[in-house]
């Protein structure tokens, strides 16, 4: 037996090492009820020790290399290559001024949107708290699109937090270590995000393919989907907030496995292969920075000015309204107003009696108001008389109804 192990010790060691690793793999991979194998994701609260060890061994020198490189770049950019900085600074200051104005306007829109959302009881928010982080390394494997950032659980990061850049989404946190974290990029095969194709609002799932390109799968063929269309996050994956830019449609290709479906190739908005700094969305609760709060206060002050202006307009309108004709006499007590006159109103005059009544003529009934008229009518007065008031001014209004216009 001893000679057997001595003779074949190389093969024995090989077998032992391989079998041990296969057992390790078998522990990690599970087969679900539908017959598909998945990595064991039952306990996602922690990190496997071997990953922690690997990270602890590889990350410090990797970070050191990265920061040495950044230091060299900083030395060059901050001390050596300073030509034209003043001119650039002036341009940037102008840009900042313009952007602040735009930001104030956008914040006002955001506040309005927030109020509307509260009315509709929507639980989504669009102002987020983020934590900037430096990217210092990758997994080193082309088949595994993950990278490492220099912030970890000590900075409040947790698994499945979204990672973005100002250009667009980048990925989500996979494993979080004390002072670093692993980010699963959106172009990895195992990554997934709900997206909307604009302007058609067709929904799909964003995945990475074998060559690290982004593609939206599960999309029915639709001729309205054109290259150049914007792709935004849908917000239904509970990781990426709604409306963040993902990229633009680059190409549409038929899905060879499913008739009627297409692959939509997407050019990412963020430079996934050249990331330096990223933002981790640590909270989706509304958050305003000090500058934003100041802008909001300014905006509210502007609202007060607008309100004052509206009030002045209303006052002027009231003053003008007083100049218009009215049924009320301002200098007469309320009970003496002509409108409250208890005397019976003058009845309108009756038309003269016809000389030769016919079937259309009204019956000749004697009424007090027009008795004189009826008595005094003759053939020469047969023409209809104008309706006159008691004063006979011929305006068609009674003396009680007409109030002279008051001039100020």
């Amino acid at each position: 037996m001893e000679s057997f192990f001595t003779r074949y010790r190389n093969l024995v060691v090989l077998l032992v090492v391989v079998v041990a690793q296969m057992v390790g793999l078998a522990v990690q991979v599970r087969r679900n009820t539908s017959g598909q194998s998945t990595l064991n994701t039952k306990d996602q609260s922690g990190v496997r020790l071997i990953r922690l060890w690997a990270n602890a061994i590889v990350s410090p020198p990797e970070e050191a290399i990265h920061f040495m490189k950044m230091g060299a770049i900083g030395l060059w950019e901050n001390y050596i290559d300073l030509r034209g900085v003043k001119k650039k600074n002036r341009q940037l200051e102008k840009t900042i001024g313009r952007l602040r104005l735009e930001q104030a306007e956008l914040l006002e829109d955001a506040r309005q949107g927030e109020r509307l959302e509260a009315l509709l009881k929507f639980q989504e928010n669009y102002v987020y708290k983020t934590l900037p982080a430096q990217v210092y390394g990758t997994s080193g494997s082309l088949g595994s699109h993950v990278f490492y950032i220099d912030k970890g659980s000590a900075d409040g990061l947790k698994r499945d937090m979204a990672v973005i850049t100002p250009d667009g989404i980048v990925g989500k946190l996979q494993d979080v270590f004390p002072h670093s974290a692993q980010v699963l990029a959106i172009n990895d095969q195992t990554s997934g995000a709900g997206v909307i194709l604009m302007p058609t609002r067709i929904r799909g799932i964003l995945e990475g393919n074998a060559s690290g390109q982004l593609e939206v799968v599960g999309v029915l063929a639709d001729e309205r989907i054109k290259p150049g269309a914007q792709v935004l996050t849908a917000g239904d994956d509970m990781i990426f907030p709604r409306g963040l830019p993902v990229g633009v449609v680059e190409k549409i290709a038929p899905d060879p496995e499913r008739v009627g479906f297409v692959y939509v190739m997407v050019k990412p908005a963020a430079h996934l292969n050249r990331l330096d700094e990223v933002l981790v969305i640590t909270s989706t609760k509304p958050y305003f920075s000090a500058q934003a709060k100041q802008d909001i206060a300014t905006s509210q002050a502007l609202d007060g000015t607008k309100a004052a202006s509206l009030s002045a307009q209303q006052r002027n309108a009231l003053i003008n309204a007083e100049d218009l004709p009215t049924l009320l006499e301002p200098n007469v007590p309320a009970d003496k107003q002509p409108l409250f006159d208890s005397a019976p109103p003058a009845l309108p005059p009756q038309p003269p009696q016809p000389v030769h009544p016919d079937i259309f003529s009204p019956p000749a009934t004697a009424q007090g108001g027009n008795a004189g008229q009826a008595a005094g009518t003759g053939p020469e007065q047969g023409a209809p008389a104008p309706i006159t008031n008691a004063a006979g001014n011929g305006t068609g209004k009674t003396g009680a109804q007409a109030v002279p216009r008051r001039h100020r």
């Binding site: 010790r9 190389n10 060691v13 090989l14 090492v17 391989v18 690793q21 296969m22 390790g24 793999l25 990690q28 991979v29 087969r31 598909q36 194998s37 998945t38 990595l39 496997r48 071997i50 990953r51 060890w53 690997a54 990270n55 061994i57 590889v58 020198p61 990797e62 290399i65 990265h66 990217v135 210092y136 390394g137 990758t138 997994s139 080193g140 494997s141 082309l142 088949g143 595994s144 993950v146 990278f147 490492y148 996979q174 494993d175 692993q182 699963l184 990895d188 095969q189 195992t190 393919n209 074998a210 060559s211 690290g212 292969n273 050249r274 990331l275």
Partner: protein, 174 residues
């Protein structure tokens, strides 16, 4: 007598290195493998831990050492990725064993042989990885043959450049 002569010849050709080299070179390969793809993007067609595994396996001519070196580096590579731990480990274990086994039989000083050997062992490593993912584990794993080919070519080129540099680190008896 022939056996003794052969054994002596083999022993003489076994390379020895300072302990630090056994630690620092594999560590450097892991660190650079993790750092360089960030700088090179998707053109990082090489696998430095595999190249280092092949180098030490060929130099030491010990299948056991090659096996252990490959297993350790492969496991660390897996641990740095988000995939199952052990796939690269098994692949590099096999590569280390094969490289050492071949190194006993042929002259590995020749650059052309080094280049060809690294190229073939890289392809073997890729094939084992794909086999484990898709057949053994039944996991969905998309791959492209030309990417694996480019990685194998890249490894061969890196090996030709790196091996002479690492040769300088060996302990010489004279």
């Amino acid at each position: 007598m022939a056996v003794i002569g052969s054994s002596l010849r083999r022993d003489l050709e076994i390379r020895r290195y300072p302990i630090l080299v056994y630690v620092l070179v594999p560590l450097a390969s892991l660190v650079l493998q993790a750092w360089l793809p960030r700088e090179l993007g998707r053109f990082a067609w090489f696998d430095l831990p595999l190249v280092v595994t092949v180098y030490f396996a060929l130099g030491r001519r010990s299948p056991i050492q090659g096996t252990v070196m490959g297993a350790v580096l492969g496991l660390f590579e897996d641990a740095l990725s988000h995939r199952a731990i052990g796939v690269n480990g098994i692949a590099k274990t096999a590569v280390g064993f094969m490289a050492a086994s071949v190194g006993i039989r042929i002259d590995v000083e020749n650059h052309a042989i080094r280049l060809l050997l690294t190229f073939l062992l890289s392809l073997l490593s890729s094939a084992i990885c794909i086999f484990i993912y898709r057949v053994l584990l039944g996991l969905e794993y998309k791959w492209q043959w030309f990417t694996e080919l480019f990685i194998a070519i890249g490894n061969a080129v890196v090996a030709v450049m790196l091996f002479p540099l690492l040769d300088r680190l060996q302990i010489k008896d004279y």
